[in-house]
Symmetry: C2
Subunit: 171 residues, 2 copies
């Protein structure tokens, strides 16, 4: 098949997906400065874990793509296999209007991702990092060097394949 035909078919499919009612289709979102694109369908992923950061007062839910979920459920996460993508959704703390001792998600802060490709990202522990801020999903970072912030913060957990999240126990 010629490149032209391939491109026409690909663009038609993208058009179909974009028109299917998804308010913010991932294909509409700008790439991160390091070239990483927003992982498609991440909101549909299964849960790996959650956390409450008492220091910066945010609630987090950690999701995984199919490769990551399979590894998490099998306990094979050190190291995570190539192709794993971990997605973390972050919200500011809010108080539940009907339960004052319940901290619940308020304003959406960002969605951030770790993508495992050991060779491609060998300079950053085998992981690609990217983040999109706010409901309108603006990519984080002035230029590709933003990943050094992410990587330096994750370096203390080098012995856990650079990942803070331990999959939460489930039946």
């Amino acid at each position: 098949m010629t490149n032209l035909m391939t491109n026409l078919i690909r663009n038609a499919l993208i058009g179909l997906i974009a028109c299917s009612g998804t308010a913010h289709a991932e294909t509409d979102v700008q790439s991160a400065p390091n070239g990483i694109t927003l992982p498609e369908g991440y909101k549909n992923w299964e849960v790996i874990g959650s956390s409450h950061r008492e220091d910066n007062k945010t609630l987090r839910v950690i999701l995984g793509n199919d490769v990551a979920i399979k590894a998490a459920r099998a306990g094979e996460t050190n190291p995570w296999p190539d192709g794993s993508i971990l997605g973390k959704l972050v919200w500011k703390d809010a108080v539940h209007p009907k339960w004052e001792k319940a901290t619940v998600p308020g304003e959406f802060v960002h969605a951030e991702f770790m993508i495992k490709q050991g060779n491609k990202y060998r300079d950053t522990g085998g992981w690609g990092f990217a983040r999109w801020k706010g409901l309108d999903q603006k990519p984080y970072g002035e230029d590709a060097s933003f990943v050094q912030e992410c990587f330096s913060c994750h370096t203390p957990v080098k012995d856990n394949d650079y990942v803070f999240t331990h999959p939460s126990p489930m039946p």
Copy 2:
């Protein structure tokens, strides 16, 4: 060694010892005293919300079946449509071994569910309630009257279709 690490290692060993594939298939699990069966595949469901109960020191993730997720993403949750199932996974608080200000899931407490069938469950606001405790999924309750505990706790949010969870904002 911290409680979190001990629990993680213990749970990993339990996972290894259990049969390959699904260690605890939902079909193997005993029904609740009111006849409700453990919803199949609930761990694969998408996220609706999360919370941190500061009073009883538990972290929670709220998932939904496809009917519930469709309603949540569309903002049509008061009332939730018949066929919605909300599933809440609950863990005891633990401290992250490498980030002392991060509260993370420790021991798994229970999975509990609200099932919307307006006619069938009209005596309890249109919702069936059920809970399974621990990794070995023991149904909660001496007899079918346990639902009165659930329902009376949820009655203060009658104006929100008896549901505390507000779907977390997402792009």
